[in-house]
Symmetry: C2
Subunit: 213 residues, 2 copies
């Protein structure tokens, strides 16, 4: 199965060079807690020549766009499937929010990457990303909340604003991880911390969203 576009990984798993470069960028951005990793560092981490970044992605922006697609596409599909499921609205939303924190736990740079790309790329790329990722998410929130309100489970809530509340509440601990380090002496968000964060934060959002009985 070997060819020019494969690289051997430590765990024996084979990835195409393209996928290796994306995995390397992801791993470096995660471990260094910054979007500012150089092409040469990414290539070195992937164990390939840095010219291959240009070959596969054109430039660093192209690689970042491809990484956004790698990390987000599956989540958008899963969100669409979740919305279509026959489930109580509150259970659906709870499932979504817990999943959101799990995604940020895997890719702690994800929201920062999205924000940075939307700012720095052209209006055209911005519109394309909005159409591909942001609009489907906005529609999912609108549907989930409308269903919850109709079922008498959620209070009347503007889904456009709820989106920001939920994304911000779930993401901030990852975007501002240094606060954990500098203020609380916590160097890493591990599985235990993630579980406690999911429980408290998702619980708070769901209680805030739900009709009091």
């Amino acid at each position: 199965m070997s060819d020019d576009a494969t690289a051997e990984r430590g765990d024996g798993e084979r990835l195409s060079t393209r996928d290796s470069l994306l995995a390397a960028a992801s791993a470096l951005m995660r471990s260094r807690d910054t979007l500012g990793v150089s092409i040469s560092d990414i290539a070195a981490e992937a164990g390939v020549n840095s010219a291959l970044v240009k070959y596969y992605f054109g430039n660093k922006n192209g690689l970042m766009l491809a990484l956004l697609e790698r990390d987000l596409s599956l989540s958008i599909t899963q969100l669409r499937d979740l919305v279509a499921m026959d489930m109580r609205p509150a259970a659906k939303m709870r499932y979504h929010l817990s999943g959101l924190i799990r995604i940020y736990f895997r890719f702690p740079y994800l929201q920062r990457l999205l924000i940075s790309i939307m700012r720095d790329e052209s209006e055209e790329v911005g519109r394309q990303i909005a159409e591909t990722y942001l609009s489907p998410i906005a529609q999912a929130y609108e549907t989930m909340i409308a269903e919850g309100v109709a079922a008498g489970e959620f209070r009347p809530t503007d889904s456009r604003f709820f989106y920001f509340t939920a994304i911000g509440a779930c993401d901030q601990i990852f975007s501002a991880r240094f606060v954990l380090k500098y203020v609380h002496g916590i160097d890493e968000i591990d599985d235990d911390l993630r579980r406690v964060y999911v429980e408290q934060t998702v619980g708070l959002i769901m209680d805030g969203l739900s009709v009091r009985r």
Copy 2:
């Protein structure tokens, strides 16, 4: 009252050159919705020679640090005063969260600026910022939540995590303002939108935090 370090402003108000440069950086970062403004643009906006940025702040990082101090110091003092006030814990927290959204409304780049400085500056500057700004905020949250729990108004809540939930929920609409533009066709967060956002978001957080009766 005029001297070398003053600049005339359009509204007739006199600011020192140093303050003019900070005001110019703030205005540009707000209107362009990015931290990426150049020294020459800032100087041009302030109507002064760009060499004065170097004179007053050393470099752009110095200017950004001074802007963080300008925008945050007063808020930290006010938060400390709020915590010391004789007020019901829920009213206190509600007041704080509404104020937080108002601060981000005035300085929509503020949380991004803090995150960017904490990442890019040295460990020493990071520790200093944490001590000056982040630790006092963390202590305020700890005290407010402990009081609320003791008064039977709040559920037992880990204040370290609640900080991220609250900051993220209040900030995200400003950090990801482009979502409003690209997905909902809303170009600007005006006073009306801010009011509706405050009502829904602060309401949700407070309901999530409060004991159900």
